[in-house]
């Protein structure tokens, strides 16, 4: 009985693990996850940078609202952050166009 169980589990594991190898060439579990170019990774890195910049903008705004930044400092930092964010978005546009 135990041997049957072992064989059943073995077949199950082999079936699951080799699933991707039995697919047609180029197929993947994750749509578009082919490791065939740097663009998608660039996009992900830029998206991470964009998320972080958004958070930074929010943090600075909250710092200003809670009195930790003067109006002048806030204006300077906020506009600098927005410029950086827009630069990231431009780069993201370009990276996505390259990836398409």
């Amino acid at each position: 009985m135990e041997y049957v169980l072992v064989l059943a589990v073995l077949f199950g594991v082999v079936f699951v693990v080799t699933g991707p190898l039995r697919r047609p060439a180029g197929g993947s579990d994750a749509a578009g996850s082919a490791l065939d170019g740097a663009a998608p990774t660039d996009v992900l890195e830029l998206e991470a940078a964009r998320d972080a910049k958004y958070r930074e903008l929010l943090d600075v705004e909250l710092d200003h609202q809670t009195g930790k930044l003067s109006d002048a400092d806030f204006q300077a930092i906020d506009s600098s952050l927005r410029t950086e964010a827009i630069d990231i978005l431009h780069e993201l546009d370009q990276a996505m166009e390259r990836g398409q």
Binding site: E2, Y3, L5, V6, V9, L10, G12, V13, V16, V17, T18, G19, P20, L21, A25, G26, G27, S28, D29, A30, A31, G32, S33, A34, L35, D36, T41, L44, E45, E47, A48, A49, R50, D51, A52, K53, Y54, R55, E56, L58, D59, V60, L62, D63, H64, Q65, T66, G67, K68, L69, S70, D73, I77, D78, R82, I86, L89, L92, D93, M96
Partner: protein, 740 residues
Amino acid sequence: MGLFGRALLILGLVVCIYGIGASLYGVRRRRPEWVDSGRRAVYALAGLMVIAFVLLEVAFQRNDFSFNVVAQTSSTTIPTFYKLTAPWSSQQGSLLLWVLLSSLWSSLVLFLTRRRLREIAPYATAVLLGMAGFFDALAVFAANPFAQTSNPPSNGAGLDPLLQHPSMMFHPPMLYSGYTLMAIPFAFGIGALISGRLGSDWIRDTRRFALAAWLFLGVGIVLGARWSYTELGWGGYWGWDAVENAALMPWLCVTAFIHSIQIQEKRGMLRVWNVSLILLAGTLAIFGTFLVRSGVLDSIHAFGASTLGVPFVVLLGVMISSSIGLILLRRNSLRSEHRIDSLLSREAMFLFQNLVLVAMVFVIFWITMFPLISEAITGTKVSVGPPAFTPFVVPLALILVALAGIGPLISWRRATAANLRRNFTFPVAFAVVTLIAVLALTGAGSKPFAVAMFVLGAFVIASVLQELYRGTSARRAITKDAWPLAFVSLVRRNRRRYGGYTAHLGIAVLLIGVAGSSSFQHSRDVTLRPGQSARVDGYTFRYVKPTAVALPSKVEFGAVLAVYHGRTHVTTLRTSRALYPSTDASDGIIGRFFDNTNADSTVGLRAGLTKDIWTVVSPNLTPLGGLITQGNQYFQAALNSASAKLAKMTTAQQNAALAPFWQARDIAVAGIVRRYATHPFPVEFLLIVSPLVSWIWIGAIIVALGGLIALWPVPRLVRRRTPRLDRVTLAPEPRERELV
């Protein structure tokens, strides 16, 4: 089922080896199907380990003593609740639990990142499978949980009484979850270094796992402290034990990491620092496991001496050398993009806090390892106790608490004198009032470190409350919501920030509790007869009466104490010590029920917000020694005289013939136990009055709440893959428009 269980472990090891090969082949040859196959190997490993663990649990529940591990750590008399937890009380079962948790967390992170981190994830998969495979290999070759015996005993040796405590149900799985979760950012850090993709995306995708590791490990540490306080019978919650320190060190490292990654995410700074921190945390997690399992240092928490030390040393060597090598290899790519604008900024405070935390890790590591270092150099193992830690750790902890209050009050990038004045006025004033109150009302001036901790703790509490008030006010100004609604909305929209502030608040409360209880504890060891009293810190403890109970699984000797403050009755405490029958034949037929080595204590505790009143009894069984010896001699003689007849009987006949004998023995044991209750023997007590201990547990709950708030997923507008739309939100006006 032993064969099936072992086959699952071996299959798991094969799957690990295959998954490592498939992942590395796939990423090097750019073959996504092999990468996918490698990832599926992790899922398969998780499935195998779930089945294996269920098998082991079933063996415990069915009292299947043909499994060595069940025979060694369980018995028929153990409650079902503790049978569920018994698997991880042994070296073998805990290794299996480790692989199970590791494979589950690895599956989760690889599933979540299956469409991301494409160049990093395959390397991370290989590292995660390598670590899981290491523990699996130990379970297969060195500590097999499915090892069986052909001649199983009729009953098991039982679970260590000290482990029969509710905290032990959760403490080990929490610690193991923390350790195994720590492997995830470690593996992705290694993956980022190998692949050269050193941006912030791997941090973004593993930050939550680092935070979860911090939360689980922290909860595990506190549960261990609680267990120590209520179960071990020495009155303390932290003994600077090697294994306690081994859990604290990676926790401190991850605490530093979850702060400093914010600087990398926002400013592209501290890349070397962050990757070093997480590699150090991952290595320290394995180091802690090494201490627990190798028996290299003495600890009540360790599994004792074993042969697992050498494989762990090899693993640690590989982890340390590859971490250092990879960081050196990528040192140019890890350079910072920016510099800190001002020393008066939150970035600078985070950096300073990181340095203090790492200094603390270094100090704890050095003192913990000092016995081994001294032995290596001088040939003599020099033991160092808790006093060795205090002069270093306490000042660092004070700086840390101060920074926990300063950080929330300073903005990112820069701060001006006017802003600092505005933000620091209330917290500093509150701290000064606290100082005056403590000095005037408590007479605590003789303990400067404790007073400093109270004052700095008050400063942190005030700064966090001020931040919550101002944030809620700002939110109300925008939304016009009611206060509670605005508060919830504020926290919900800024979970990382306010989760962090909540954790700071909790740490302040916890450390105030530590300072108060360690500096102002009063304790006495006394010997009392029923009716006698002893005074501790103004409280009178009167020993009312002894108690004694004989049960099939244990005998219990206890005491009832009434506690008075002046003439006012404060509480009644009940404490006891339970002795579990030993398996040592030399103790004698009666004496094995009175062996004090296999025992646990139930403390008498009255916990309060300001003071805990605590006691534990250490029953003096010497007056019963004569009876026990007589009983041993009488029953042994009876057994010897019957041995010739018994030898001619079958097992069933022997059992039937001996039944009255065992009944008589149980009656004798009960009689001796009863004598303890009816004769007023003098008994030793440890009596403790300790202030603010409850603050430690309350603080820990607040910290955990903060961790949960920060961990909770944020619905993100920025997930959209249409950056042009995002530009709309970057328009500077109108000001009230919000990004998230």
